[in-house]
């Protein structure tokens, strides 16, 4: 396969948050340890709740938005959930220590060391901001690599298929955004943990071709249930700084899940429903068992009823690949 024939990566940029590159990233603020930890992990999913799924669009709630997003009922969708891998973890580890140690210098009393922090304009604060932004870029690049690998597989097995990117949304980020506070446009640092942006219609940061309906919001479910595509709502800007949840969330720890399920049984059970699971470790399947998560449909309904994001489509898994 001649990689130069794959033009899609350039077309993807418009549909990736920050046009594929977060401004203000400072790779020099990322340690050599972090870079070394990452170098063999580019193009990998990682464990935990990360996955790659082939899914089918089984229900449409908003056909107009789905049409703008470019899919119809019955279409195949490939969802990729992964992040910055070891680089992001190492950045977090190192700056947590730096800030825990430097807190006293900035007269910050930490009730809990896990709340380690520093003034944003301090040397360590600016270094962390630059490194964190570099971590976001690493995650964007990682998902682009995985997307490319998926396209290579499809080119081999289903050469007639066209895989266009719906949207790449980041989670676990801190971004500088303008929001209205008490009637005044205000520059804010918006931290989203387990949450993503969910900008409503007409927002200038949304790709022009999607701007009429709003930003795609992707809420992943479990390997045995469903995932959803939603669209950001105008109300979300004032309710939640233009944010929505990122997933259903766990209802129990990995530890409890491993006590309750065996990976082999989970694989067999979902296979009876036509879902194929591939994982290098059956224990990893057990800790991600569908029963270990909250009901994604209830979570999505709550987000819709709260006017954070409106349901567009329900996707059900056909194949789930765990890292």
């Amino acid at each position: 396969m001649d990689l130069n024939q794959l033009k899609r990566p350039h077309e993807d940029l418009e549909f990736i948050e920050e046009q594929g590159c977060m401004a203000g990233a400072k790779p020099d603020c990322v340690s050599d340890y972090a870079k070394k930890r990452q170098q063999d992990e580019m193009g990998t999913l990682g464990s935990g709740n990360h996955y790659l799924e082939a899914q089918q669009v089984v229900q449409l709630f908003d056909t107009a938005a789905a049409s703008v997003f470019g899919f119809r009922g019955g279409d195949l969708v490939v969802s990729i959930h992964c992040g910055s891998r070891g680089l992001g973890h190492q950045i977090g580890t190192e700056f947590l220590k730096s800030m825990a140690i430097s807190a006293a210098r900035y007269h910050i009393e930490l009730p809990d060391r896990e709340l380690a922090s520093a003034p944003i304009n301090s040397e360590v604060g600016q270094a962390y901001l630059g490194a964190m932004r570099a971590g976001i870029n690493c995650a964007l690049a990682n998902r682009q690599i995985v997307t490319h690998l998926v396209r290579l597989v499809f080119a081999d097995f289903l050469p007639q298929a066209t895989l266009s990117l719906l949207y790449d949304v980041s989670h676990n980020t801190c971004k500088v955004e303008e929001h209205v506070i008490d009637g005044m446009p205000t520059r804010l640092f918006v931290h989203r943990k387990g949450a993503t942006r969910a900008f409503g219609p007409a927002h200038p940061d949304i790709p022009p071709s999607l701007r009429s309906v709003g930003q795609p919001v992707l809420i992943g479910g479990t390997m045995g249930t469903a995932s959803y595509v939603l669209v950001g709502m105008k109300e979300s800007m004032s309710l939640a700084f233009g944010s929505a949840c990122h997933g259903a969330g766990r209802s129990m720890s990995q530890h409890q899940a491993l006590k309750q399920w065996h990976g082999r049984d989970v694989v067999k059970e979902v296979a009876t429903r036509g879902i194929l699971i591939r994982s290098p470790s059956l224990r990893r399947v057990a800790e991600a068992a569908p029963g270990a998560y909250k009901d994604v449909s209830e979570v999505v309904d709550a987000a819709d009823e709260a006017n954070l994001a409106r349901k567009v489509a329900r996707l059900e898994p056909l194949v789930c690949v765990k890292g």
Binding site: H89, G92, K97, R113, S253, H255, Q256, L258, R283
Partner: protein, 147 residues
């Protein structure tokens, strides 16, 4: 003499639940032993430590201004070595020198089919972080690790 009932034999390492993550705890007569056992608890999050053959050694040195930060540094150093060397560790030897920790970790290259790793530890955190002696004088060290 009556044999000790299994539940009265103290565990040398433990896990404790914490929402979506997991706590690791090491218990020992000395601080060094407790740190070594916390490392075993870390491995046990991933796989059965008994399944990891201690055939290759890796030296580790950490420095931190107090014992609590040193525990997190120690566990994070192991996470780093596991990630970059693609190894698992099952035996540890720890020594302290002022605010530094010098250790050797023994383990082997990870074999996914045999070790069946359950999770990939992202890092040790400061949540539920504690290094202290209990009422019996045993050292009990713990923190939550992010999985």
């Amino acid at each position: 003499m009556q044999p000790l009932r299994p539940e009265t034999v103290p565990r040398s390492w433990e896990h404790f639940p914490h929402q979506a993550d997991i706590g690791v705890r090491g218990i020992g007569a000395t601080k060094e032993t407790a740190f070594e056992r916390a490392a075993q608890a870390l491995t046990a999050v991933i796989t059965d430590p008994e399944s990891v053959a201690p055939t290759q050694s890796v030296p580790i040195v950490c420095e931190a201004p107090d014992d609590e930060l040193l525990l997190v540094d120690w566990l994070n150093a192991l996470v780093y070595e596991m990630a970059t060397r693609k190894m698992l560790f099952s035996r540890f030897n720890v020594h302290f020198n002022d605010h530094s920790l010098h250790a050797t970790a023994w383990g082997e290259p990870i074999e996914v089919a045999r070790h069946q790793p359950a999770v990939e530890v992202k890092g040790a955190t400061y949540t539920e972080l504690s290094v202290k002696q209990d009422e019996r004088g045993r050292w009990v060290v713990q923190c939550v690790v992010d999985v």
